[in-house]
Every structure is written in structure tokens, then in C-alpha cells.
């Protein structure tokens, strides 16, 4: 298990499939978590492996992806339903939940990644 700070945000693929949310393309565009090379290796992961991301606000299983441009301790999940399972919903009076910079942990898991439809069932 490693400690990370989670950032969510737009990617080109997420944006290009955002009006096709019930398709496989959208599912693939948002269901992963990027980790630094160091963290990826520390968890003994290979491409296609799944990880469980946990914060004080929830947890979610997503695919692990190595991103050599990320610094150790940072995790990036594309904005969308998977990221929103773990982000901080508190708005501190601004109306804006904290979608970026949430402390959490990441561990390897054998559990499956829920589909978009399954995800809305478990909320």
C-alpha cells in the first residue's frame, strides 16, 4: 500500500467521449489511475492490473497506469464517476467540492472494475 495525493482532471479522451457516457470508449477513458513509475513498481504492478484507491470519502477499483511524468506520491484519475467516488465532497462554503489534492492510499487488488452502470447502482 502506498500513500498518494489524488488529482482529477480533463483528458483528451475523456473530453472526446463525454457525450457517449454509456459506451466502452468512455469507460476506458475514465476508469484508470495514473501512478509514478516508482509507485507503480513499488506496488509490483504490471499493465492491466487493478488497484483500489481509498480516501476518507470513499473507495474505488480502477486500472493502474504508469506515467513517467508523474512525481512519486501523486495519483491522477480522469474526471468522472470513478474519481468522484474518492474526492472530497466538502465545499467549505464555496459550493465547490475539492476535486484535486485529496490524500489517499493505493493498493493492488484482484477485484474487478465496475462498469459505469454498476457504479451508479452501488452509490
Amino acid at each position: 500500500m502506498i500513500e498518494v495525493e489524488i488529482i482529477s482532471g480533463r483528458t483528451l479522451d475523456q473530453g472526446a467521449t463525454v457525450e457517449e457516457k454509456l459506451t466502452d470508449e468512455y469507460f476506458k477513458a475514465v476508469n484508470y489511475c495514473e501512478l509514478s513509475e516508482e509507485d507503480f513498481n513499488a506496488l509490483n504492478l504490471s499493465e492491466g492490473d487493478r488497484v483500489r484507491v481509498k480516501t476518507d470519502f470513499g473507495e474505488v477499483v480502477v486500472y493502474a497506469v504508469k506515467n513517467k511524468d508523474l512525481k512519486k506520491g501523486m495519483a491522477f484519475i480522469p474526471m468522472g464517476p470513478y474519481a468522484n467516488m474518492v474526492i472530497d465532497p466538502n465545499t467549505d462554503g464555496t459550493g465547490m467540492p475539492q476535486f484535486k489534492g485529496i490524500k489517499g492510499v493505493v493498493e493492488k487488488t484482484e477485484d474487478k472494475v465496475l462498469t459505469v452502470k454498476e457504479l451508479i447502482e452501488v452509490i
Binding site: I7, L12, P81, N84, G95, M96, Q98, V116, I120
Partner: protein
């Protein structure tokens, strides 16, 4: 017969007005990846539905009006991907049913609005940036993925009146991670997540001549690098800070933007600088401007007392949903089930939800009444504000059976009036 027409893209806040569409091939030209996918054939909501059963537009709209009239405090949310004419009706409808009007900026650039209320905004248009800006700082924004043609048309490679070449313009990216946009920058400054505020404060101190007050490292950035950036900013002739959600969605939120505006105010004592948000949806500006000219506020507006009140800590969609403070919702041109934190979605699942949208999305899965609509800019016309507030008339170039958002809301308002009589 020529089948290619000039159109205006209705995906992101850049609202590109130089793109073409081939009606025969149903394919766009000159679009970025985001625009190409917007203007392509994809799955649509087939017909209006009540509880999953196909009905007529009239039946669905009547049911929606009933839900809104019978609710004590409905939330009417979305509005960023539709035209001003529809938004105008939406604000009237919200007032009529004494509901709460909120829009996508509430989870996007609204903290910038709070900062603007405090500080004002030294702003400028995209045209000015293209023609004049010899320095552009992308702060917590990633145009290569969120506004792919913005750099080419306005902010990086754009050729303008005074800026003839990429070499005439310095480009800086400040971000917590090395994004695709960082690769096009002359200088990339990587800060620790949640440290925008102190980094901005440090820059202000250095520019003001009080660098002794700045420690050797601030938010993961070496003082030397901050001094380099401060010097670059001070010696620019016309600079622009273009900020994104990296600033508004992380620790500090509105205070980050406020501090950035203070930096710009300070820089304006030495040279010319502007600051502007990189707005996301093509008409998210309209979703704020239209209620502002109708009710005086841009988002989080409560009409439950019969007159508008603004308070983001109380009336923003996420606050209302998390408190369980609305008993019905109308969601238009947006997908909160995919883009809100799960505790907010939890309440949305418990209440009657009406959806108006061209495409099936996660909100469709929890909606009781689903009303498909025409795609503005393709199947329906109207006015949209580009990210810098410049209005554009978006076109209807394809005939459709789908009703426009405007037509749907017009009838819904009529039905609400009948039910309230």
C-alpha cells in the same frame, strides 16, 4: 451542390468560429479531437420517456411540469451546454416554481466569480491575447487537452498584430503535474498540490521588492525559479494569466484566484497584465451571464422566497444535494451523476429527476422523466458566449425531429403556468 458549411463549434469555451462541416459525410473539418467527436454521429436518447416508457414530448413535458409544481424546492441545474435563449426560460421557470438555479460553473470556475466579487477582474478578450500578449502563463490549466485549439488560435502559436511569431511570445506553465501543455512551454514550474496560494504570495513579495521575506523554497519551487518568473512577468509588455481548474478545485479555491488577481493588480503598476479563466463548456459563460441579467447573480440562486438570493454555501447544487435540501431536480445540458461527488449523487437517486439532454449519460440512468433535445450548433440555433464573453450566433444546419431546449422549456413554462393557475 456544395455540402460544406461554415459553422461554430459548440464543445469547449473557445467556441471556434473557423470550422467547417460536411453535411454529406456528416464530418467536421479543422476541428480538434473534442470538436470532431461532438460533431459526429453517436447514440441519442431515442424518444421522451417517463419511467423508461416511451411517450410523446407533450406527455413528458406535462409530467415534468407536474413534478416541478408539486415539489417544495426543486433544483434546476446544468445549463452550460445550451444556448442563452433556453437559459433565459430556465431562469424564469426556476422563479415560477420557487426553485434553485445552479449551473456547471458551480463545480468549475465559480470560485473565480467569488474572487471577482471581492477584487474585480483585470481582463481582456482572446483577440487581445492573440494580438498583444508577449507572455502567457497557463496556471493550473491544460489547454492541450481541454481547449486544444486555444494555443494555436490565441495564446501560443497565434500570429497577431504585434506578435508575429511563436518566438515573440514567452509561454509558462505552472502546474502540479507535467501535463501535455507543459511540453509546449518555455518554462514549466511544478508546484506541490494545494500550494498555489503561497506561490502566488511569494511572487507578489518578490515583485514588490520584498524578496527577503521569501524562504528558499515555496510550495516545492526554488526561490531562484520564482525570481526568474517574477522578472519575466515584470518585463513583459502585455501578459496574460490563463487559469484553470487546478486553481479553483484545489485547496484555497476562490482565495487562490483572489491572490492571483492581486498579483495582476500589482503587475499593472509596472506593465500591462490581464487574468482570465479558461472556461470549459461552450456556453458556461451564458449559464452565468443570463441569470445575472435576469436575477442579478450568476449561480447558486434560490427563489424559494419569491425573490432571488445568492449564497454558494447554501444554494449551490452540491450543498443542496448533500444536505438533502431539494425534493426534485431538473437537469439540463449536464451530467451531475457523472461529475458530482458520490454523496451528492446519492440524494439525486432518491428524488424525482427530469433530464433534458441530446445524449444518454449517467444522469439518464437515474432520471424519471427523460426529454431528448436537439444539439445546439448543429440541429438548433441560438446565442452562446465564448469564454471571454463575446457572443456568437450558433447555427442550425441539420433538420431533426428532436425539439430544441428552447421549445421544450417554452412548453414546460406554459404547463407550469396552467397548473399554478
Amino acid at each position: 451542390m456544395a455540402e460544406e458549411v461554415n459553422i461554430i463549434c459548440t464543445f469547449c469555451g473557445s467556441v471556434c468560429d473557423d470550422v467547417q462541416f460536411d453535411l454529406e459525410k456528416f464530418k467536421g473539418k479543422k476541428f480538434c479531437k473534442l470538436g470532431s467527436s461532438k460533431f459526429s454521429k453517436k447514440e441519442r436518447i431515442k424518444a421522451p420517456m417517463i419511467d423508461g416508457k416511451e411517450v410523446s414530448y407533450e406527455e413528458a413535458i406535462e409530467k415534468a411540469a407536474e413534478i416541478l409544481v408539486n415539489a417544495k424546492r426543486p433544483l434546476l441545474y446544468g445549463w452550460a451546454s445550451t444556448v442563452n435563449e433556453a437559459i433565459r426560460l430556465g431562469v424564469l421557470l426556476t422563479e415560477k416554481v420557487r426553485g434553485v438555479y445552479d449551473q456547471c460553473a458551480s463545480v468549475c470556475h465559480a470560485p473565480g466569480t467569488l474572487a471577482l466579487i471581492e477584487e474585480g477582474v483585470p481582463g481582456g478578450s482572446l483577440g487581445e491575447i492573440k494580438n498583444r500578449a508577449d507572455m502567457v502563463v497557463f496556471w493550473g490549466s491544460n489547454p492541450m487537452e481541454a481547449h486544444p485549439r486555444h494555443p494555436v488560435r490565441y495564446s501560443v502559436r497565434a500570429k497577431g498584430l504585434l506578435i508575429k511569431d511563436r518566438k515573440d511570445r514567452k509561454v509558462v506553465v505552472v502546474d502540479v503535474r507535467k501535463t501535455k501543455s507543459a511540453n509546449m512551454a518555455d518554462l514549466f514550474i511544478q508546484i506541490k498540490p494545494g500550494y498555489d496560494y503561497p506561490v502566488l504570495s511569494a511572487l507578489r513579495a518578490i515583485i514588490k521588492g520584498e524578496e527577503d521575506a521569501v524562504p528558499e523554497e515555496v510550495g516545492g519551487v526554488k526561490k531562484e525559479q520564482l525570481k526568474e518568473l517574477a522578472e519575466m512577468m515584470k518585463s513583459a509588455k502585455y501578459g496574460a494569466v490563463l487559469y484553470g481548474l487546478g486553481v479553483t478545485q484545489s485547496r484555497g479555491r476562490d482565495r487562490n484566484v483572489e491572490n492571483a488577481i492581486k498579483l495582476i493588480q500589482l503587475l499593472n503598476r509596472y506593465t500591462r497584465w490581464i487574468i482570465w479563466p479558461m472556461r470549459g463548456h461552450y456556453n458556461v459563460v451564458g449559464a452565468g451571464e443570463v441569470p445575472a441579467w435576469e436575477a442579478g447573480y450568476t449561480y447558486a440562486i434560490d427563489f424559494s422566497r419569491g425573490y432571488p438570493r445568492f449564497s454558494p454555501g447554501e444554494f449551490s447544487a452540491n450543498e443542496i444535494l448533500q444536505r438533502g435540501d431539494c425534493d426534485a431536480a431538473l437537469i439540463i445540458a449536464s451530467d451531475p451523476a457523472a461529475h458530482f461527488p458520490k454523496v451528492s449523487v446519492k440524494h439525486l437517486k432518491k428524488i424525482p429527476v427530469i433530464q433534458i439532454d441530446p445524449f444518454p449519460n449517467m444522469t439518464t440512468l437515474l432520471s424519471d422523466v427523460v426529454i431528448p433535445s436537439a444539439v445546439a450548433g448543429l440541429e438548433a440555433e441560438g446565442t452562446a458566449y465564448r469564454m471571454d464573453g463575446i457572443p456568437f450566433r450558433v447555427k442550425k444546419i441539420v433538420d431533426t425531429e428532436y425539439w430544441s431546449d428552447e421549445k421544450i422549456l417554452e412548453l414546460m413554462l406554459e404547463k407550469v403556468n396552467e397548473l399554478q393557475r
